[in-house]
């Protein structure tokens, strides 16, 4: 494959799907837009380097989302992210304002996501934002179906507690 062809395909892909990846990254990063932009750039670079694999797959966007999730989990394991977590070291306090109140809702949801561990957040995003089933989520994260189910249950319980302890359980069972 000629480099110009690869570049043209890559630019077309980035133009079409970058915003999708950024939105996913913002959820994974719990609203940290700088971190989200970092992992999107890293993901796109990795996709370019492995473009042959990307174009051979049936669903390039799904491939890219999985790559993005893996970049996110890898980054969270690294020391500099850990140090930033230490520096922040802020207790997450449940905000019991009515989360349906307009502009506050986004901040409350992001705060609730921030309190989840990186892999729990990834499970929530893949399962409930991208509608992957437990098997697809397990494959994307390289873990067992049981792990996905338990992480999902814990994450939903936490989200419910933080977002509104008086509400009915959040919908989102195992498929």
């Amino acid at each position: 494959m000629r480099r110009s062809d690869r570049s043209a395909e890559f630019v077309e892909f980035a133009r079409a799907h970058r915003s999708d990846l950024v939105r996913t990254a913002v959820l994974l990063c719990a609203g940290d837009e700088a971190f989200a932009e970092d992992i999107v750039q890293t993901t796109l670079t990795k996709l370019y380097l492995a473009w042959g694999r990307v174009r051979r797959t049936d669903r390039p966007l799904a491939y890219a989302r999985t790559a993005l999730t893996n970049v996110f989990v890898d980054e969270c394991r690294r020391a500099h992210r850990r140090r930033e977590t230490l520096a922040a070291n802020l207790p997450v306090v449940a905000d019991h304002r009515d989360p349906q109140e307009g502009a506050d809702l986004r901040a409350v949801v992001l705060q609730a996501l921030e309190a989840l561990g990186p892999r729990q957040r990834a499970v929530v995003v893949l399962r409930h934002w991208h509608d992957l089933d437990v098997y697809e989520t397990a494959a994307a994260l390289g873990c067992s179906v049981g792990t996905v189910k338990s992480q999902n249950a814990r994450a939903l319980a936490h989200l419910r507690q933080v977002l509104d302890p008086t509400r009915e359980p959040l919908v989102g069972g195992t498929r």
């Binding site: 980035a14 950024v22 939105r23 380097l49 394991r77 930033e84 949801v109 934002w129």
Partner: protein, 210 residues
């Protein structure tokens, strides 16, 4: 659409301007060039190493006399980074081995950052890229188990970084001390096991939460 999806939809809403994909392409091409350069350098280093080994074997084969007191060719001699004996104090951490050409850039109760002296990495102590970081925490060690010099270690390799972990000794605060370093920084696993084994965690160290 369920409750969770509705909430995530709201959280993912961004009033963002579009980004030119040409910038992504520029970064990707730069990374591609850098990768090619690394592979070429590694190839050259491999050829040089093969030549050194071949010459060394030739000398051994042709020299029947006793070897002199010169430096032995330890495995570390072939890595880009050499460890030398020497005290390195980064309170509350101390090191009995020193990586030649690297110096402590920052230290705190949770971690020590060591950077190369050649100025190729950021001067900011909060930027860990290309540096050696020693961390102390209480998370369980993970990775492939290896035993070295009577001590247990775990080595975990990701795409760009290697992490080596070991449990602290009885006279140190309880926890796990880890070293993280870039996979392409020139450190061999053997060097890193030796270096980590030389770390002493002092009583002032605090376990990180990560």
């Amino acid at each position: 659409m369920n409750d969770v999806k509705q909430l995530l939809e709201v959280a993912a809403t961004l009033p963002r301007s579009s980004v030119d994909p040409a910038d992504d392409l520029r970064r990707a091409r730069a990374s591609s060039r850098a990768r090619t350069g690394r592979r070429l350098r590694l190839g050259s280093a491999g050829l040089a190493l093969a030549a050194v080994v071949a010459v060394g074997l030739g000398e051994v084969a042709t020299d029947p006399g006793p070897s002199g007191p010169g430096p032995s060719a330890s495995p570390e001699a072939f890595a880009d980074v050499r460890l030398v004996a020497g005290e390195l104090d980064a309170d509350p951490y101390t090191f009995a081995m020193v990586p030649q050409g690297w110096s402590v850039q920052s230290q705190n109760p949770y971690a020590v950052t060591i950077a190369p002296d050649d100025g190729t990495t950021s001067a900011s102590p909060d930027d860990f890229r290309g540096k050696l970081v020693i961390l102390f925490d209480q998370n369980p060690p993970n990775g492939d188990y290896v035993s070295n010099d009577g001590r247990d270690f775990w080595i975990s390799v990701s795409s760009d970084y290697v992490t080596v972990a070991t449990v602290t000794r009885g006279d140190e605060p309880p926890g796990v001390v880890r070293i993280q370093y870039p996979a392409d920084a020139g450190w061999s696993h053997a060097s890193m096991l030796e270096f980590l084994g030389s770390v002493h965690v002092g009583p002032g160290a605090l376990p990180g939460q990560g």
